[in-house]
């Protein structure tokens, strides 16, 4: 039973004139099988939370703890976190010239699973996962994210989610920039992984639109670097009606 526990997390970035605190005491527990939506206005620190959990070197943790099944996540390197089961679907996936998608996926799966997947079953596994996400087979031979459209990049992220089967999936604005069709395809991918019941999902989004496809168990409003309010799915409906105005008044970090 995988559990991600975030306690009083404080995170800073280097800025002109010294470090600037972005996360100001985040408390959150995500259990296997649960889906938590984190919603908030721009600049509230949602993406910082995502990247801090994955271990991006730009962010400095200045206080608090993060554990996965009791293991200290903050003490792990980026690749160790991934192998421990933390997966971050990025808002802006990076182009990696010279590395083909198929080589990348296989290298990654080998690292995460601890052994190279058997070639025959692997080829089938990738092919089927790509079909489900409506990714053209020719993408396997293309360089990672190179020349991909916004929607293609997001589908490629969810392809990795499906293949790597993490314990904790952090989806950082996976819905941004997607048209309705692409949003449906991507959401279906996320739901397939969720339905297996093995993953705890942290769904970070600015909009409520994706919550029509991916139903959260818990909704948290993020403002000024911490969780300002938590509730059930009904909280999303309230945000849909009223927006973030109530939360940004005098409280936003920028």
């Amino acid at each position: 039973m995988a559990t991600l526990e975030i306690n009083d997390l404080h995170v800073s970035v280097d800025a002109e004139g010294g470090p600037r605190e972005i996360l100001r005491g985040v408390d959150l527990t995500v259990k296997q099988g649960e889906t938590h939506a984190i919603m908030g206005p721009n600049g509230s620190g949602k993406s910082t939370l995502a990247y801090s959990l994955a271990g991006h070197p730009k962010y400095t943790v200045t206080g608090g703890t993060v554990t996965l099944d009791g293991e200290d996540v903050l003490a792990m390197s980026v690749d160790e976190r991934a192998r421990a089961g933390v997966f971050l679907a990025m808002q802006y996936p990076v182009e990696v010239p010279g590395v083909s998608v198929s080589n990348f996926l296989r290298t990654s799966a080998t690292a995460i699973r601890g052994e190279a997947p058997k070639l025959r079953t692997w080829v089938k596994e990738v092919k089927e996962a790509m079909e489900r996400l409506h990714i053209d087979p020719s993408f396997a031979e293309r360089n990672v994210n190179e020349g991909f459209s916004g929607g293609e990049k997001k589908r490629h992220e969810i392809l990795q989610l499906e293949l790597l089967k993490p314990a904790i999936a952090i989806l950082d604005e996976t819905d941004s920039g997607l048209d309705v069709d692409a949003l449906r395809v991507v959401s279906e991918g996320v739901n397939r992984v969720r339905e297996a019941g093995q993953v705890g999902t942290l769904l970070i989004t600015h909009y409520t639109r994706i919550l029509r496809y991916i139903k959260p168990d818990h909704v948290h409003v993020f403002a000024a670097g911490r969780i300002a309010e938590s509730g059930g799915p009904e909280l999303a409906d309230k945000l849909e009606e009223e927006g973030y105005e109530e939360y940004v008044k005098g409280g936003a970090s920028e």
Binding site: A54, A82, G98, V99, F104, T107, A111, Q160
Partner: protein, 389 residues
């Protein structure tokens, strides 16, 4: 004038017209070192080279002491000779174009001539091993391929030495020559040389220049065409480490109609003070109608502190050509790329390997020599291990 393309920038399709051939060299080509002034470092053709690391090859103070061993292993049917300076086969491909090449030409005592008779198709490569034993040497090598003959020649440079040596490739009509020159020197060696190919009618020349070692390596791969229908492919691969200066200055002289050339050089740089220079000059003279040429240089900077100067230059004196183009780009292995790969569970050194292997893979395949392919990949891995660890 050609311009320096700083790391991170890209040029595509810049075409220069009508520039005089010799505008970029400090003196006209000559066999005699006395015809070249001692470079001071500000000349166009010397401005990237750290002269103080040439150990006197450029100013006449280097003294030959014979500390370089050359062994030639050739299959049956191939003639290997050591000849005097007056041998008629020497100097046929072209004159030295800079002072060090002229110094080598003026200073060698014996030259080596490897001849493949006409219509002989070799099934095994000719192997030339140049091993430095800490000395200084001037050398001259001629490789002559008769009409319709086919050969692969592998020249391996290892050990420590200060060497100025020129190589001439005389490729007969309809012949096919593939040459692989591997600079796998110790990190203390200095190697300067001019490799000039004279490509015969309908002949094919493939050059693969691989530079891993050396404190300073500066090579001039050059191609001239003796008759129409010639084809030249020039591939290069370099891995420039901490403190190394590796410079490749190519020149393709399209002076004959209906010839083709294709250049692809790729380099990775790692470590502070790693400096790679790539100059790609292509001249299409007025007589060279029907020319088809393309040149490409790609660099991958893996760490901070490395420097690349990449200068493609295309001069066209006739519009009656099939095609002419060039591209140069220098990219960095970014922290964000590293983060992305690591966030998928891939350890940092493996991530770097993945990117470098991918960067070179296409070129290694293009080279099309399976034996070399494996060796190159192994060598690239070893370079990565050595400098990452």
């Amino acid at each position: 004038m050609a311009e320096t393309i700083p790391a991170g920038s890209t040029t595509d399709g810049v075409i220069q017209v009508g520039q005089p051939t010799d505008a970029r060299v400090s003196a006209p080509a000559s066999y005699d070192v006395a015809d070249f002034p001692v470079p001071h470092g500000r000349e166009e053709d010397w401005r990237f080279t750290p002269l103080e690391r040439l150990r006197g090859l450029h100013d006449g103070t280097a003294v030959a002491d014979g500390g370089v061993k050359v062994e030639v292993a050739a299959p049956a049917g191939v003639t290997v000779e050591t000849v005097g300076r007056d041998d008629a086969r020497l100097g046929k491909a072209g004159k030295p174009v800079d002072r060090v090449a002229a110094q080598a030409y003026s200073s060698f005592e014996k030259a080596s001539v490897v001849s493949v008779p006409k219509e002989t198709v070799l099934t095994e490569p000719v192997r030339i091993a140049v091993h430095g034993e800490g000395g200084t040497a001037f050398g001259h090598q001629v490789i002559e391929i008769g009409a319709f003959a086919e050969a692969v020649v592998v020249i391996d440079h290892t050990g420590d030495a200060t060497v100025a040596a020129n190589v001439e490739y005389l490729i007969g009509d309809g012949a096919k020559l593939t040459v692989v020159s591997v600079q796998d020197w110790d990190d203390t060696a200095v190697h300067v040389g001019q490799h000039t190919a004279l490509v015969g009618r309908d002949a094919t020349f493939k050059s693969v220049v691989v530079t891993f070692g050396g404190d300073l390596v500066r090579l001039h791969p050059r191609v001239v065409y003796g008759a129409p229908g010639g084809e030249a492919e020039l591939y290069g691969l370099y891995f420039t480490d901490n403190g190394q200066h590796q410079e490749h200055r190519l020149f393709i002289d399209h002076d004959t109609p209906h010839c083709r050339s294709n250049v692809a050089y790729k380099g990775a740089l790692q470590g502070a003070e790693a400096h790679a220079v790539w100059i790609g000059d292509v001249l299409i003279r007025a007589a060279a109608e029907g020319t088809d040429t393309y040149e490409l240089n790609r660099n991958l900077v893996l760490t901070d502190g490395a420097r690349v100067d990449s200068v493609p230059n295309l001069e066209i004196e006739t519009g009656e050509i099939v095609g002419a183009g060039h591209a140069s780009a220098t990219g960095r292995f970014e922290d964000e790329q590293l983060f992305y790969l690591m966030a998928r569970g891939i350890p940092a050194d493996e991530a770097r390997r993945l990117v470098v292997r991918g960067f070179f893979a296409e070129l290694v395949q293009q080279i099309g020599l399976p034996e070399l392919e494996e060796r190159l990949i192994a060598k690239i891995e070893a370079e990565l291990e050595a400098s990452v660890g």
